[in-house]
Symmetry: C2
Subunit: 205 residues, 2 copies
C-alpha cells in the first residue's frame, strides 16, 4: 500500500470520526482496530501512533460524540437577550431535531452507554457533560414560570426539570428509532406541546 500523508493535521480527528462510523455500522463489538483503520483508509498500526491504545480511541470517540450532541443542543440558547420562554422552546426544538434525532446518534449513544458502567474513565466522560445538561432546564423552568408570577420551590422546579427531560429523552428515542412516523418538525412540535402541558404554560410561538 502506498503511504499517503495528511494535508492538514486532522488524522487524529479522522480516526475518531472513523471510530464513530464503524461503531454505528458494526456495533461496539465489531469496532476492531483493523476495521476502524479500514473506515479511515489507513492501516491499523497508525492508530497506535495517535492513541495509546484502543481504550483511549474509544474514550476519545465517546467524548467527541457527547461534545457534538451538546453543541447541537445548546445552539441558539446562549443568547441571553432572548426571552426565557423562547430559549426554553429552542432548547426543546434543537434537541428534537437532526442531528440529535437520528438513528446514528441513538445507536452510538446505546453502544457507549454500557461501557460507562464497566470502565470508570468512560463513566467520568459521561458525568462531565451530564451535570451541564441537567442544569440547563431547571433555571429556564424557574425563569419561565416566574414571568407568569408563579414562584415555585426548589424541589418543585427540580421535578419539573426531570419531567421535561424525560419527555425530551423519550421523544428523542422514538423519533430516532421510528423516524418514519413523524413529519418534518412534528417531533419538536410534540415536545413543545408536552412541555407546555407539564408546565401549564404556553411555549409555542
Amino acid at each position: 500500500m502506498s503511504t499517503k500523508r495528511r494535508e492538514g493535521n486532522n488524522r487524529r480527528q479522522e480516526l475518531i470520526e472513523a471510530t464513530l462510523n464503524c461503531i454505528e455500522n458494526e456495533g461496539i463489538q465489531g469496532a476492531t482496530v483493523r476495521k476502524v483503520a479500514d473506515y479511515a483508509g489507513v492501516t491499523n498500526g497508525l492508530i497506535r501512533f495517535y492513541f495509546s491504545g484502543k481504550d483511549e480511541l474509544i474514550r476519545a470517540a465517546y467524548a467527541a460524540l457527547l461534545e457534538q450532541i451538546y453543541v447541537s443542543a445548546r445552539a441558539n440558547i446562549e443568547d441571553a437577550q432572548l426571552p426565557v420562554k423562547e430559549r426554553l422552546r429552542r432548547f426543546i426544538q434543537a434537541t428534537l431535531s437532526f442531528p440529535i434525532v437520528s438513528p446514528r446518534t441513538v445507536l452510538l449513544w446505546a453502544n457507549f452507554l454500557p461501557l460507562t458502567y464497566i470502565d470508570d474513565e468512560m463513566a467520568a466522560i459521561r458525568n462531565e457533560g451530564y451535570v451541564e445538561t441537567t442544569n440547563i432546564l431547571q433555571p429556564l423552568v424557574i425563569a419561565s414560570l416566574a414571568q407568569e408570577n408563579r414562584n415555585i420551590s426548589e424541589e418543585e422546579s427540580q421535578r419539573f426539570a426531570i419531567k421535561l427531560n424525560a419527555v425530551i429523552d423519550g421523544l428523542w428515542l422514538e423519533g430516532s428509532m421510528a423516524g418514519y412516523k413523524f413529519q418534518n418538525g412534528e417531533l419538536a412540535e410534540m415536545g413543545v406541546e408536552t412541555a407546555s402541558s407539564i408546565l401549564a404554560i404556553n411555549l409555542a410561538n
Copy 2:
C-alpha cells in the same frame, strides 16, 4: 472438573439467565461463550449442546429479556373489570417500578439495541413485542377520555399515546440510571402526574 447433572430440565433457561448476567456485568463484547459458561458454572462446550451457536444464545437471551419486561409491564392491567383510568394508571406505575426500572434492565436493553440494527433476526425479535406494547396505550387513552365525554380523532389519540410513551421511556431511563435521585414510588408518581397533565385528566387515586 466433576460432571454435575441438572435436577430438572432447566439448563437451557440457566444458560439464558447466565448470558443476561454476563452481558449486564461485562457488556456485550465481554460476553464470550467461555465467560457465559463460567456464569452458569459449566464448561463452554455445553452451550453448543443447547444452542446451535453463540448467535442463537444471544437471540434467546434477548427474547427472554423482552418477555420479562412485557410480563412486568402488563401485570395488573389484564383485568377487564377494572376502570380504564385505573388500568392506565397501573400500566404507568408498573413500567416505572422495579424490575423494569433498574440498572440491569436498561443496561441489557442498551446492549441489545445496536444488535437489532445489525442482525435481521434480532430486529424481528424486537418488532414482535414492539407493536404489542405500542397498542396498549392508545386504546386506554381513547377509553379514558371517552369517560369524560371527550371524543378525539384517531390521529389525536395516536399523538397522545406517543407523548405518554415518551414520558414513560424517559422517566424509565432516568430512574434506572440515576435511581438514587428518587424515593420509593416517586418515579411512578411523577409518571402519573405527567400523564395527567398531558391528557388533562386526573389519573391519580
